[in-house]
């Protein structure tokens, strides 16, 4: 046994897959201990916030100010509001207005702004402009206000007594705050989803739930497969015929169809995570049964089994003592395979809308479901679904890698 374990950990594939899997597990377990926010808590008003570091503006006003004189500060500021696209748009407007092209240099900010200020008129009739475009230019014009000024911004507070605005503070253009000193800063590495939830926290929780579902379903499926396989292989005869018939039947009748039918029929209310896991487990034991049965059949004519039979041991004893140890390796591999299949099955069900109830826990599939329903993939909000897909891929990939590694250890013929 120890030798086997040593061999297993020598297999490059297994170790690689195992490390990835353990890494995922660690993240799932440790992350919630550090970040204790509820995963389904809605934290943003509005959908699909991009990943980034969100700094509370109000708090940063009150934070300690530092003056930094950086050369490119002004250029960055201007570029932030007047990017290439905006410059081209302005040029377009000016051209349509009638300014000759030779006079327009979009690289010269001052000149461009000067031309714009002199000539821009929201009411002037430019041919072929739609209403939307007109509004766009109005907005553009408004955003350009004060672009070149070097004065700071004034923070004024409403005086409750007089009702007027009183100047409280001036925020200079070279004033910086240290993000670490701002009271409220929220890092959203994966932004928010369509509901306004922190995707990363949600993802970690969802991964955990999916793994649990996978585990439960995998164990159920493996147990069923093991039992049926043992019975069919060892007892043989009519029992074998019946079990083989069932197996063949359910091989051909698509498993996912049954999964869909059962999940649907159970109904939304009854579909908790555990129930879904059970359903998946009960519809995916086919492959394991077949594999176990094949192994048992080849084992039952071995000498040590015959010896046991001659010694008068009961069937139960023979199965547990003589056969199980030899198929242990297959069972382990089958379990891994079942878990990984179950995770994908749950994801598939959830995408269809037949997964676990949506209000209690997120699962990887549910996250995908929401992302698709809200068109994240079309809108380019990649953070709502891509990390989920990558997680699923990582989990299943690492498990299958482990399996391949194990396979090569147990089946020397497959070694390269």
């Amino acid at each position: 046994m120890k030798h086997t374990i040593r061999q297993v950990f020598h297999s490059g594939k297994f170790v690689f897959g195992f490390s990835i899997f353990v890494a995922v597990l660690l993240i799932v377990i440790v992350y919630p201990l550090i970040i204790t926010d509820p995963p389904l808590g809605i934290i943003s008003q509005g959908t699909f916030f991009e990943p980034g570091i969100y700094v509370n503006v109000y708090d940063s006003i009150g934070s300690e100010r530092y003056i930094l004189n950086l050369d490119d500060a002004t250029a960055n500021r201007i570029a932030g509001r007047l990017g290439d696209k905006e410059r081209l748009d302005m040029k377009e407007w000016l051209l349509a207005y009638g300014i000759p092209e030779s006079e327009i240099d979009i690289a010269d900010t001052e000149q461009l702004l000067g031309l714009w200020e002199n000539h821009y008129d929201p009411k002037s009739p430019i041919a072929g402009m739609t209403n939307a475009q007109r509004n766009y230019y109005i907005r553009l014009d408004a955003s350009l206000g004060g672009l070149l000024s070097t004065e700071g911004a004034i923070i004024a507070v409403n005086n409750p007594d007089t009702g007027t605005l009183e100047e409280k503070k001036v925020v200079g253009q070279s004033d910086y705050v240290n993000v670490g000193q701002v009271a409220n800063v929220r890092v959203l590495p994966l932004g928010t989803d369509n509901f306004g939830r922190d995707v990363l926290t949600e993802l970690v929780k969802a991964a955990g739930v999916s793994l649990q579902i996978g585990l439960v379903a995998g164990i159920i499926a493996t147990l069923i497969g093991l039992t049926l396989g043992l019975l069919a292989g060892y007892v043989g005869g009519l029992v074998d015929d019946v079990i083989m018939f069932l197996t063949n039947l359910f091989t051909v009748i698509p498993g996912f169809v049954l999964l869909i039918l059962i999940s649907y029929s159970i109904g939304q209310e009854r579909r908790g995570a555990a129930t879904v896991a059970a359903v998946i487990g009960f519809t995916s034991w086919i492959w394991t049964t077949r594999a176990v049965r094949a192994q048992v059949i080849s084992l039952r004519s071995r000498d040590h089994v015959n010896l046991s039979k001659l010694s008068g041991h009961s069937i139960a004893y023979i199965i547990f003592a003589d056969i199980l140890p030899y198929i242990a390796s297959y069972v382990v591999m089958a379990l891994i395979l079942q878990i990984s299949t179950a995770i994908i099955a749950e994801a598939s069900l959830s995408i269809l809308g037949l997964g676990p109830r949506t209000s209690e826990v997120p699962t990887l599939g549910l996250m995908l479901n929401w992302a698709f329903i809200y068109q994240a993939h079309i809108l380019g909000k990649w953070w709502a679904y891509l990390p989920v897909l990558v997680t699923i891929a990582l989990i299943t990939f690492s498990m299958n890698l482990m399996n391949t590694g194990l396979d090569q250890v147990f089946n020397p013929a497959l070694r390269e």
Binding site: V252, I253, L261, S265, S348, L352, L389
Partner: protein, 334 residues
């Protein structure tokens, strides 16, 4: 041909048995669940209504329509009779369209997409796997990890991947639908071209997934066969390698065909998800709409049709195998 008869009848019998079982399962499973399906449906349908008697009337109407007030066995025979007539009832979510009507076009789209895609993917995958086994070296070392990765990627994942890269990112292909939004199905070139363009992404998604799965299997089979005794013996007898390769691939292909028959269920499942991701107007999309709209008759009929499709495909492949593998004919002849 006489040798085939027994094999053919055997497979036909099996097809009928599995069909009957699938049919019965399709019928009974939903009805075994506790609760009254009609009540739930009516509850939702009548959400806007405040008139109690109105709700009651609808409930009674649907109960009559579905026969849920009759014993199970009687319901079954009514169902069978209806199915044979092609009557699957009315679709809830798309009332007054009938389920049959909704399915008719969906089936066409699905068949046109999935079966060519699966076959093409299977062919390419097997060829690549065989090449990797024979050529070895760099090609093999590159192909293997890619195949392992692709085959482990869930079907919808691959679909999303391609959609995002080619549809949204590069904008080479449209991202949804079977044809342009503004088009009405007709036989004009414009329409046909639109169909072809919309066909690309879903098609290639399914192909890529099929390739990944097949390549690995074929490579293993081919490696196994390449080391077989008859290969060595043929070499001893001076037969050219090229001819021997032909033997090997023919022999390695056979289990792959059987494998396809066994895997067709899973492949169709995956392909259905591809349809969903691309909002392609096939059975997958219909199923999704059915689930979202709690459209029980639609769901039931869709799953039945899918089951029939898979069973038929399985049957055809098994028959094909019997034709191709000369040992079957020989074994049956005596």
């Amino acid at each position: 041909m006489k040798g085939y008869r027994r094999y053919f009848l055997n497979k036909l019998g099996w097809f009928l048995v599995t069909f009957v079982c699938g049919f019965i399962l399709n019928f009974t499973l939903p009805r075994l669940m506790p609760g009254d399906p009609v009540a739930a449906i009516v509850a939702r349908m009548a959400q806007g209504m405040s008139d109690a008697t109105g709700v009651q009337a609808i409930y009674e109407q649907y109960t009559e329509l579905f026969g849920t007030n009759r014993p199970m066995l009687e319901q079954f025979f009514i169902y069978v009779r209806n199915v044979l007539r092609g009557d699957f009832g009315f679709s809830f979510s798309m009332y007054p369209r009938t389920v049959a009507d909704v399915l008719k076009s969906a089936i066409g789209w699905t068949m046109a997409l999935q079966f060519p895609a699966i076959i093409v993917g299977w062919l390419i995958g097997n060829t690549l796997g065989a090449l990797a086994a024979y050529v070895k070296g760099g090609f093999d070392k590159v192909l293997m990890p890619i195949s392992i990765f692709v085959s482990n990627f869930p079907a919808f994942g691959m679909a999303v991947f391609l959609l995002v890269i080619f549809g949204v990112g590069l904008e080479w292909f449209p991202t949804s639908g079977g044809y342009g939004y503004d088009m009405i199905p007709n036989f004009s070139w414009g329409f046909i071209w639109s169909v072809i363009v919309h066909y690309q992404l879903p098609f290639w998604s399914i192909v890529v997934i099929a390739i990944g799965g097949q390549a690995i299997g074929m490579r293993s089979m081919a490696i196994y066969e390449l080391n077989a005794d008859y290969v060595k013996y043929a070499r001893f007898m001076g037969i050219k390698d090229r001819k021997i390769i032909g033997y090997v691939f023919r022999n390695a292909m056979l289990p792959q065909i059987t494998g396809l028959a066994l895997a067709i269920g899973t492949m169709v499942g995956g392909a259905l998800f591809v349809e969903i991701v691309f909002s392609y107007p096939g059975l997958g999309y219909t199923l999704l709409n059915g689930v979202m709209g709690q459209d029980y008759p639609l769901i039931s009929a869709s799953t039945l049709i899918i089951t029939v499709m898979v069973l038929s495909a399985n049957f055809i492949i098994e028959i094909l195998y019997g034709v191709i593998d000369p040992r079957i004919k020989a074994a049956q002849a005596d």
